[in-house]
Symmetry: C2
């Protein structure tokens, strides 16, 4: 079927219909559409959608087809949630925190400053009550349910034209950074900017902005920032992990045969695991290439991190005093993160830090 | 069907058989048996098998059933590979490194001393060529193929009756530790012991052994070692991560309809992600309970870790000079680990270490 015809047909098509014998009714032909925020150029995030579609087709012996649409093909990139909510499409891949304009609580579905690391985020979502809380208290009111769809792992702090050595250096800094992190930066005198990916390079080149954060080495490399803003800071304290989401329209979900629901759940889990492994595998050689191309790695100073940490806590207390769900999610996530790090520091961090120590000797 | 009847029937049962119309042939009724090394008492590892079985049933609308058998029900715990290899069962869950008696290269499917951490292991298996190398060069010669089935994360170093402060203290130490790690300990004068889990407690209590390693806080807690060997060391340098495996008989795999193959692959991936999240979520409160019960947390000293690291490299060089596949796997895994840690130390470790620093302030 051509894309145009498919667009017109849309929704659930029971192609086999009445001619099918009763025995096959549990496996009807179903066609769903998945729209994603992320462009094809991100083979990581867009690739996850393609992988998802392929797995579902294989699992269902090609009976359940999920066609993937890039940003702008059906709806613009940041209207994925609305498109799923209104049943324009059955499902959409995006990051929950793009929708904090509707409710700041959406941040907790992706990342908040100084949040849990990747494994801790997965554990909070699955076994810490995080996903249940988000689904029942937040997403449900938008007619959607959500599954984790993979994590980018800890992100880099972005590309800076000049070195940032003190908290003072943040004052007046025009920094392309969004969401709650932007609000934290603003509290320290920075000037957060919201610029679509394609416009970042010219803005950095002209000096319209001083810095820009994106994702991590592998995805960042494609945008070529190293040539014009070579100071590459770490860690991205606002995205110690960043969880992607697939939103599913609740009415469409209810219509889906149970085995197909399980296919969606299980395929999303496979995609999530694969995406993290892919990020880890791709980022490691990418950072080497970036350094070879002139990237100058710089850690944010402890003073800067401390100031951002303090500003984050103040901001979150303010928001929480007005938004009960934000407060509840923040308390749940923070308590879980603290308990996790108390354990992480014993075994995992000791092991990692010893390995890093050995690396410096070879 | 009762278990006894099921045991007698075994294998693939085409229950629907000839009476089924052609349209349903792609979804035949299939019954497989999965035997696992791990006892029911480990709700983590055994629970993963039960979850796997349930997912497969849901995905296939109950047509593909995988029945789980504990250790001793069909074969003893450490004959899982042989049972799958000989087609006694279609599939088995175990740890590859239990089979180093056949070939030391089996270690790389689970864990080797100072190997990659959990995320790095997943990335090596999936995107670093690890699983392909193991499947094509090693497992295939045993008539099996393998899928990752979840990781315990970094394990603890075990329970000691007395403190171990220097390398000298390892001399004569009767330590329940297996595999290659045991060989490393032996090089430093220790006396590695192989004791089944049920016999560890009395051996520790009587002083027949001085120390025993098992898994991590949540699983260890159940064995009650804290009462008799309270010094709880970290990290388990021989298991910075430990990957579980599901082995599948190659001939049975080839017989499986393609959608069912995909179900096995995708369900295993979901189980793997879930198990790690479960370990992370369960270990954090368990270590607190253990400390409250009298566990005394102790890090292995840098001197001890350095001595073990050196002994590991010497041992691996010796084995590699006689075993080409061991050498090849070691080179692949070590190169990948080193590249990963070079990246990990930039962003991930900086983020984690800052969070740990904050934790100590609250």
């Amino acid at each position: 079927m051509k894309r145009r015809q498919f667009l017109q047909a849309g929704g659930v098509a029971l192609a086999a219909g009445l001619a099918t014998p009763a025995i096959a009714q549990s496996a009807p032909t179903v066609r769903w559409r998945l729209t994603t925020t992320f462009p094809k150029s991100l083979d990581t995030l867009y690739g996850a959608c393609e992988m998802f579609s392929k797995i579902i087709a294989e699992l269902s012996d090609q009976k359940f087809q999920v066609q993937v649409f890039g940003p702008g093909e059906i709806v613009p990139p940041f209207q994925v949630l609305d498109a799923v909510s209104s049943s324009t499409v059955e499902m959409g891949n995006t990051a929950s925190y793009y929708y904090i304009g509707k409710d700041l609580a959406f941040a907790f579905g992706t990342a908040v400053p100084f949040g849990p690391n990747t494994r801790q985020m997965n554990a909070w979502l699955t076994y810490g009550g995080g996903l249940d809380l988000l689904n029942t208290e937040l997403y449900k009111t938008y007619n959607v349910t959500c599954l984790p769809f993979g994590n980018t792992a800890a992100q880099m702090g972005g590309w800076f034209r000049k070195e940032i050595k003190t908290v003072e250096d943040l004052k007046g800094l025009k920094f392309r950074i969004g969401g709650l992190a932007g609000q934290v930066v603003a509290r320290l005198g920075g000037v957060p900017q919201q610029i679509p990916p394609a416009d970042i390079y010219p803005a950095l080149e002209k000096g319209t902005i001083d810095a820009a954060e994106w994702i991590g080495p592998y995805d960042d490399e494609k945008l070529g920032f190293v040539k014009i803003a070579p100071y590459y800071y770490y860690p991205g304290w606002w995205e110690g992990s960043a969880n992607g989401s697939v939103f599913i329209n609740l009415a469409k979900w209810a219509e889906l045969p149970k085995p197909y629901q399980q296919m969606v759940t299980t395929a999303a889990a496979q995609v999530a695991g694969d995406l993290l492994a892919k990020y880890d595998a791709r980022n490691a050689p990418a950072i080497k290439r970036l350094v070879a191309s002139g990237a100058r790695l710089r850690p944010f100073s402890i003073d800067i991190l401390d100031a951002c940490y303090k500003a984050t806590n103040e901001l979150f207390a303010e928001i929480g005093s007005k938004n009960a769900l934000f407060k509840r999610l923040n308390e749940s996530m923070s308590a879980f993160r603290n308990e996790q790090y108390a354990w992480h520091q014993v075994c995992e961090a000791t092991y990692d830090n010893y390995q890093i120590r050995q690396l410096s000797r070879t």
